[in-house]
């Protein structure tokens, strides 16, 4: 039994996945005017869920971006800035959720440690 359980590891792994998704989405938005640019995205929840149901350790999960071949404007660019903006906002909120849950769980550990030292 390690100090940090599998759920805590999964939360931290999801945080790093969310960070990669943030970079990918920021890249899409930065290239919103680049001709023939194909947007990409990271589905970190699905990757993590698949890995965990296959019995893999959450710390060993690799998150990779996949391209979305689509064209939304005349210069061959596939980025929809409004959709990307919404995805970035959603990802930011999701990340903060993950941080809060991780912090709350670490708070429980901390309380346990303080109880043993003071008692």
């Amino acid at each position: 039994m390690s100090l940090l359980d599998n759920t805590q590891m999964a939360l931290e792994s999801a945080m790093s996945g969310s960070m990669i998704e943030q970079s990918t989405l920021a890249n899409n938005l930065a290239n919103a005017d680049t001709p023939n640019f194909e947007p990409s995205n990271v589905n970190f929840q699905q990757t993590l869920a698949d890995a965990m149901s296959a019995g893999q350790s959450p710390t060993s999960v690799q998150y990779t971006a996949y391209t979305q071949p689509q064209v939304t404007s005349a210069n061959g660019n596939g980025v929809d800035p409004n959709v990307t903006d919404a995805q970035i906002a959603e990802n930011g909120l999701l990340y903060q959720d993950l941080v809060q849950v991780a912090a709350a769980r670490e708070g429980i550990l901390e309380t346990a440690m303080n109880t043993t030292t003071s008692g």
């Binding site: 945080m15 969310s18 960070m19 990669i20 943030q22 970079s23 990918t24 989405l25 920021a26 890249n27 938005l29 930065a30 290239n31 919103a32 005017d33 680049t34 001709p35 640019f37 990409s40 990779t64 971006a65 996949y66 391209t67 800035p81 990307t84 903006d85 970035i88 906002a89 990802n91 930011g92 990340y95 903060q96 941080v99 809060q100 991780a102 912090a103 670490e106």
Partner: protein
Amino acid sequence: MSFFDSINISATGLTAEQTEMNVTAENLANANSTNNGTPYTPQAVDLESIGSGNTFQDELSSAMGNTSGGVSGPPGGVQVQGIVSENVPAQEVYDPGNPQANKQGYVKEPNIQPVTEMTNMIQESNSYQADVTAMSTSKQMYSSTLELLR
């Protein structure tokens, strides 16, 4: 992948939009520059994405057949490949009183449509704001991570 990648990527977007805005402003400022017979040609910005197959590592792994199917390298943002002259012919305006008019009384003026340039400017300004929003979301993510350590 470093922790500050997403902020740097947004920054490259800001730089690119800033350059586009400068070029648009220059086009508008030179809308009537006849330059003694060789009128100003409107300029345009050529953008290209950084990363995703440009690095040595990506080239090597793709040469060795290690294609993972998706994006190969980490995303690196956008960069200005160059500022190019647009291939539009100058327009001839009838103005016999102008010292630069030819025998028929026509003056060659740059073919710049203020409405088009204004539309470009609005689009660039919107993209810039979108990049700023993405940057501030990334900033909030980092701040919330720091909250973990308190």
